[in-house]
């Protein structure tokens, strides 16, 4: 009884196509479910694996090694005086954050279909809870960056204090497309096969393995239509400073595209969400 004491007295009305005014309030009320789902995903992540949590270190580290070899040593791209491994890793961090949010959130609604067809809760919780898992992995990866910077004796400038802001931006960039794709996968299962493809393509279309300074100036603004370009540039700027300057008009364009994606994601998710149980 006590649990329901703070339930608002307003009446719930169920009707076709009715925009639920209580939705955002509900989202807040179900915050515990959000944390519990996130905790569940973290808890079961490395169950029954041999090296367990070490995976969180191995994966980003190996990717960094491969990228450094391929882009830095074989393709001999310039790092503008920054150790190539640090350059690559600074780009890899936001990209990994993006790709795990996008990848996990896309399949999250489908993999929680048993919940969705049996219980009501604001469906946004499901894709959003994958963000927590991605953030934890990100924190682990960040510790590798610290080690790397110590190893190469790279001292960050004052910009490093802006890093949390860019982490937040990277999350916003990921959430928009992730929500859209989560909603689309429910409707068209084919889209599941498109997601890994987008991620693979995006990895090379974004300046992860190289600095965006090598893009010809006349293409630079266009290149920033990919919102990850602005974010990755920002990360590099924070970490290695002036040697890797941020390109302001491009960055602003990235912000606009991010906002657009975010709106599209939330709008399309909210639109299809009501029919999830029927489609699953």
């Amino acid at each position: 009884m006590s649990a329901t004491a703070h339930t608002p007295p307003n009446r719930l009305i169920l009707e076709a196509g009715r925009a639920d005014r209580q939705y955002w309030y509900d989202l807040w009320r179900y915050r515990e479910l959000f944390f519990i789902l996130a905790w569940r995903d973290v808890a079961v992540r490395y169950k029954q694996t041999v090296i367990g949590v070490a995976w969180a270190f191995v994966r980003p580290f190996m990717t960094m090694v491969i990228f450094t070899i391929v882009f830095g040593h074989i393709a001999k791209l310039s790092g503008n005086g920054v150790p190539y491994a640090v350059l690559v890793y600074a780009g890899l961090l936001p990209w990994t954050l993006f790709s795990s949010v996008f990848g996990d959130a896309s399949s999250s609604v489908m993999s929680n279909s048993n919940l969705i067809s049996k219980v009501y809760f604001p469906r946004l919780i499901v894709p959003l809870s994958t963000v927590v898992v991605a953030l934890i992995d990100f924190a682990v990866s960040l510790s590798i960056l610290v080690a790397l910077m110590l190893w190469y004796r790279v001292v960050p400038g004052w910009q490093i204090v802006l890093l949390p802001g860019f982490v937040l931006l990277a999350l916003l960039v990921s959430i928009g497309p992730a929500l859209w794709s989560a909603a689309t996968v429910v409707k068209y299962r084919d889209f599941r096969f498109v997601v890994p493809f987008i991620l693979q393509f995006g990895l090379y279309a974004s300046p992860v393995g190289f600095s965006s300074a090598i893009v010809p100036p006349e293409w630079r603004l266009l290149y920033n239509l990919n919102p990850m370009v602005g974010i990755i540039d920002g990360f590099r700027w924070c970490i290695v400073g002036g040697d890797s300057p941020i390109y302001l008009p491009g960055f602003l364009l990235s912000l606009v595209v991010t906002a657009l994606f975010l709106w599209l994601g939330i709008w399309s998710f909210r639109r299809t969400e009501r029919a999830f149980a029927d489609l699953i």
Partner: protein, 430 residues
């Protein structure tokens, strides 16, 4: 108006079902149609009006124009055949899907229990799953923590609470899952078929717990195929048939409405065939000779069987009655007991087997119908061909409902002459 908690008006739910209709004889046609379909799919994807790779679409109303009102503290059951729309109605009430038509107003917080153990994760321990499941069902962590010991004790899994649930037996898993659900604190509780878990003893405890919940002043909506549970728990019932509300009233009247509609609408599965005989249908009949699902203890038990035969001599009909645990409790063989065989000519025949009255305990029963060569070799066996239930069984004059769930068997024994106590000389002490 103040104590109406649910008010439904003209509620309908439409589904679009896709059929694959085309049968292409020519590969060329298939190619052309494939390409055409690809483009039209592309168009509908862009428009956001979904179509999956099915071709023809048909509208199907799972619910249509349903109106009802439920008052605070009422216990209402929803009964109907498979596909009558019960689950759809519950899903709408619990906000899992939204209605296509009509409107429902709800005062208060609805907690739905459409399945026990929703979201249980096999890798997590019992303790972790209790918290996970609790959160999914809308409990806060504080609430779960407060009732945790109660939940574990109810499930009887104290020893294994820190073991991953994938190591649990099916029974333990189900018990833990139900235990969480049983300790929900909700204003309006919506329950679907959750009693179908665990052993008989646990089911009885679940029923007790449910009536406790029901009697604590909460509003409960209950869907079940267990008609005995329906009568035990609720006073009022809504009967759904093919998506429409056909009856709304006291549970006893609802049950007779429900069972009387059976003969008309019963959808029989194809029972397959035997070697020399094929059972077509079997029904329990009431005293007027109409098919029913309800048996009144102490009245003759009549089963009508329709059978086809090749005229093979020596074939006879056998009935095996089973209780809720699916254990055989009674047997009848027309061949062995009465030397009655099927006619020795080809054709389809109907017969009614009327058996002596039995005082069957309240609960569910099923009868397997078989044809066999004098109990030596079965020809066509149909398990659970007839299902029926007994609502109340009061063998004596006092009102006591003798139920299967008491665990004291399924047949009440009766006296043929009164019990007399004759005084005997006191036993000698030597």
């Amino acid at each position: 108006m103040t104590d109406t908690v649910i008010h439904a008006e003209g509620v309908g739910k439409k589904f679009i079902i896709g059929h694959r209709v085309e049968q292409h004889a020519l590969f060329r046609d298939a190619m052309v149609n494939g390409v055409r379909r690809f483009f039209s799919m592309g168009k509908s994807v862009l428009k956001g009006s979904g179509g999956i790779a099915g071709d023809e679409f048909e509208e199907f109303w799972a619910l249509r124009d349903v109106n009802f009102e439920i008052k605070r503290g009422e216990l209402v059951s929803i009964i109907g055949h498979n596909g009558a729309g019960k689950s759809t109605l519950l899903k709408i009430l619990s906000r899992i899907t939204e209605p296509t038509a009509g409107r429902i107003e709800i005062d208060g917080r609805v907690t739905s229990l459409l399945e026990v153990g929703t979201g249980f994760h096999p890798e997590l321990t019992g303790r972790e799953n209790v918290f996970l499941n609790g959160a999914i069902l809308g409990m806060t962590r504080v609430e779960v923590r407060r009732r945790f010991d109660e939940i574990v004790a109810f499930a009887g899994v104290e020893k294994f609470i820190d073991t991953p649930v994938k190591r649990y037996s099916v029974g333990m898993y189900a018990r833990l899952a139900f235990a969480v659900a049983a300790h929900l604190e909700a204003e309006i509780l919506v329950i679907d078929e959750v009693l179908a878990v665990g052993d008989a003893e646990f089911q009885a405890r679940c029923l007790d717990r449910m009536s406790e919940v029901a009697n604590s002043g909460r509003t409960v909506l209950f869907v079940s195929h267990n008609l005995a549970a329906v009568t035990a728990l609720t006073r009022r019932a809504l009967v759904l048939r093919a998506g429409q509300l056909t009856f709304d009233g006291p549970v006893q009247a609802a049950l007779s409405h429900y069972t009387s509609s059976l003969g008309k609408s019963a959808q029989r599965l194809h029972w397959g065939r035997g070697g020399d005989s094929t059972l077509i249908s079997a029904d329990l009949l009431d005293e007027t000779g109409k098919p029913t699902e309800r048996f009144v203890p102490g009245t003759p038990l009549s089963v009508r069987v329709v059978v086809e035969t090749t005229g093979m001599p020596g074939l006879c009909i056998e009935l095996t009655m089973r209780d809720e645990l699916n254990l055989p409790i009674a047997f009848y063989s027309a061949g062995i007991f009465n030397h009655v065989s099927l006619p020795t000519e080809i054709g389809r025949f109907e017969c009614t087997i009327t058996l002596e009255p039995m005082l069957l305990a309240a609960g569910q029963y099923a009868i397997d119908v078989a044809t066999s060569f004098t109990n030596v070799h079965a020809d066509h066996v149909v398990d659970n061909a007839v299902r029926f239930f007994v609502e109340t069984c009061s063998p004596g004059k006092i009102s006591f409902n003798f139920r299967q769930s008491l665990g004291t068997g399924s047949l009440a024994m009766t006296l043929t002459k009164p019990i007399e106590f004759k005084p005997l000389p006191a036993a000698s002490t030597s």
